[in-house]
């Protein structure tokens, strides 16, 4: 298969932890500009797949390519982040002892070395970007509050906001609506659809209602490899998917 028009290309990827194969000969291709939803039972390897793409876990075998030509297995987390892959963790992870604004400031695209950070003064352009993002994630009125004081759902949004500040080409979003109300969930689906207009996105979710809202191609993982792939209707009609996941 050609890698040329792909943003993410995984082929024959496997990884074991103490003999347990968490990812097993996984192949997955994401086109440029595509948004994909990934579903699958607990322990299917969804988070581990993101760990591999972002450099946290090295695959034992297989190819992982970004943007058609960059071999991600040769780079570490910081390098991969700088190439333009952003990630939201399954458990929302923000800097709790910093304010919302400061969280976004640290995520904002820009130089990543020590001395510029030591002498950094916020520019008008940066302030505007932060204002824009605060508007998008609806936390403008809380900008000076500590992130520790946010609700679970708001932390999820802040983390998505940090992703936006990073301005990556590819966003990996792990369970963004866990702990959200129905209204917040719908809002998040709208936000991700917006983001997907000019970014490539992978969303992992268990919430089928939310996945339907996204309205994109779905991949179901099971025991570390792809079980089924297609429209949500196609995948949810797949007997194997019903058996291991939806039917429970």
């Amino acid at each position: 298969m050609s890698k040329s028009n792909t943003i993410l290309y995984l082929d024959g990827v496997s990884v074991s932890f103490d003999g347990f194969r968490a990812i097993n000969n996984l192949s997955l291709v994401l086109d440029k500009g595509e948004m994909r939803a990934i579903i699958g039972p607990n322990g299917a390897g969804k988070t581990t797949m993101m760990d591999i793409v972002t450099g946290k876990t090295r695959p034992d075998e297989g190819e992982v390519f970004f943007d058609g030509q960059v071999d991600l297995t040769r780079h570490d987390e910081a390098e991969i982040a700088m190439m333009g892959i952003g990630r939201k963790f399954q458990k929302p992870t923000v800097f709790e002892s910093h304010t919302i604004e400061e969280n976004l400031m640290l995520a904002l695209k820009g130089p990543r070395s020590i001395f510029p950070a030591l002498f950094h003064r916020q520019s008008a352009a940066e302030a505007r970007q932060i204002d824009d993002i605060l508007g998008i994630i609806r936390l403008g009125d809380k900008r000076r509050e500590l992130a520790a004081n946010l609700s679970h759902g708001q932390k999820q949004w802040l983390e998505i906001g940090m992703l936006l500040a990073q301005d990556p080409k590819l966003l990996l979003v792990d369970e963004p609506v866990a702990g959200m109300t129905d209204a917040e969930t719908e809002e998040t689906a709208r936000l991700l659809r917006d983001i997907a207009r000019d970014h490539s996105v992978i969303v992992v979710e268990h919430d089928m209602h939310f996945v339907r809202e996204l309205g994109v191609k779905v991949t179901c993982l099971h025991e570390g490899s792809v079980l089924s792939e297609g429209t949500l209707d196609f995948v949810s009609a797949d007997e194997r998917v019903v058996e291991v996941y939806l039917g429970r």
């Binding site: 972002t54 946290k56 570490d76 987390e77 910081a78 982040a81 700088m82 952003g86 990630r87 963790f89 458990k91 992870t93 923000v94 800097f95 709790e96 002892s97 910093h98 304010t99 400061e102 400031m105 640290l106 995520a107 990543r112 070395s113 020590i114 950070a117 030591l118 002498f119 950094h120 000076r144 509050e145 500590l146 004081n149 609700s151 679970h152 940090m162 990073q166 866990a178 702990g179």
Partner: protein
């Protein structure tokens, strides 16, 4: 809101500390030198020397605060950087003795003559110049911290493992400096100093000057630490402390962020050691003792880490306590120190400063509450009646059961 209030309170506290240190740097020497010994305001020379020593300890505690309080690196080896700075200064002071030593050798310090050295070891060259020694005070601890941190942070050694290897580092240096053939005076270390920059180290005026230098240097270190912590880099330092992997996935190199703070901190510790040695008149391998480094951690914990001011207060109080205790009940000091550490960890996890803040916060909240009560008794009654009345809980679980607050999922 309250976070902001405390931030403003913390800034004011730091500014006051800087002001007090600068004032003390002027006033104490004046009270020692210009006031007659019979006056009630006279500060005796031994107090000047003792408090000067405490200020060096405070600088050491502050240097630990930068890495431990703000970046979560629990170094149990900061005493090593302190001692190395002290040795660099000690070597300068040794060379200043010249031919006034017991053996009268114009080049070789007494211990070298005694150990049959024929010439000065190469690493002693240059130490007859103050500027060179001063440079080494910064460079040697800084370089050691840089090399140590380079390997440790790159291989992602964190937490208790990192603490253990810092402890191993200071222990290795202790053993090395005990050896006579290392060329640093072995067991006895460096002592019998005569002059610093041409002034007699024992003279009152010199002691006062060293005291003032320590206070000013501590004030300067507070300014620098404050600036670092307040910068975007400082925010990163805390971000690495709270969620290291998050910073990596944002593209930051957590190892470099730690390395910079660790190196700056080691340089500060080295300066503290260099100011300490002329005031106490000796530097020996005992300063590398692992327990010394652990004591520094206790000072910072007692005062309150991550507050800049806390570790300074902790160092001053614990050492004043130590001086008092070792005078009255010398054999109980270590028990008292251990007990203090346990008590602080259990009762005051945020140290003295943290206790002060929460006390102030409570007082403020109480005042606000009583004001609100006066202003809005009717509102309070109205809202109480509009809610369905809760029957008294029969068991403690019931209150939380009926609590409508949504719980955050983990």
């Amino acid at each position: 809101m309250s976070g902001r209030f405390f931030a403003a309170g913390a800034d004011r506290r730091i500014a006051i500390t800087i002001f007090v240190l600068l004032a003390v740097a002027v006033i104490v020497p004046l009270l020692n030198l210009a006031v007659s010994p019979t006056s009630a305001f006279y500060v005796p020379s031994y107090i000047v020397a003792l408090t000067g020593k405490y200020l060096c300890y405070a600088l050491l505690a502050l240097s630990l605060d930068l890495v431990w309080g703000y970046c979560g690196i629990l170094s149990l080896g900061h005493g090593a950087f302190f001692a190395l700075g002290g040795y660099a200064m000690g070597m300068y002071l040794m060379r200043q003795i010249g031919s006034r030593g017991v053996y009268g050798n114009p080049i070789l310090p007494d211990f070298m003559v005694f150990l049959n050295y024929k010439e000065l070891p190469w690493f002693w060259t240059g130490f007859d110049h103050f500027w060179f020694a001063g440079l080494m005070v910064l460079a040697v601890p800084g370089l050691l911290a840089f090399i140590f941190g380079w390997f440790a942070f790159r291989s992602r050694v964190t937490g208790v493992y990192l603490s253990i290897i810092t402890q191993a580092m200071t222990y290795a240096l202790l053993l090395a400096f005990f050896r006579n053939d290392m060329g640093f005076g072995g067991n006895n270390g460096l002592t019998d100093f005569k002059d610093i920059l041409g002034f007699n180290v024992q003279a009152d005026a010199t002691r006062s000057a060293l005291f003032a230098a320590s206070a000013i240097m501590l004030a300067l270190a507070v300014v620098i630490t404050w600036a670092i912590v307040g910068s975007k880099y400082g925010k990163l330092l805390m971000a690495v402390r709270d969620a290291e992997s998050r910073t990596r996935f944002l593209g930051w190199r957590a190892e470099n962020i730690k390395l910079f703070a660790f190196t700056v901190s080691a340089v500060m510790a080295g300066i503290a050691g260099a100011l300490y040695v002329p005031q106490v008149g000796i530097i020996n391998p005992g300063e590398f003792e692992p327990s010394n480094s652990i004591e520094v951690v206790i000072w910072a914990a007692v005062g309150g880490r991550g507050t800049i001011v806390g570790p300074i207060i902790g160092a001053l109080l614990v050492n004043a306590g130590k001086s008092w205790f070792t005078g009255v009940l010398p054999e109980f000091w270590l028990f008292a120190l251990g007990g203090l550490f346990v008590a602080v960890t259990l009762l005051l996890p945020k140290g003295i400063i943290g206790m002060w803040d929460s006390w102030r916060g409570n007082a403020r909240a109480l005042r606000a509450a009583s004001l609100a009560e006066e202003a809005g008794t009717e509102v309070g009654i109205a809202s109480a009646t509009s809610k369905p009345a809760r029957s008294p809980a029969r068991n403690p679980g019931e209150w939380s059961w009926s609590d409508p607050e949504p719980q955050a999922a983990e």
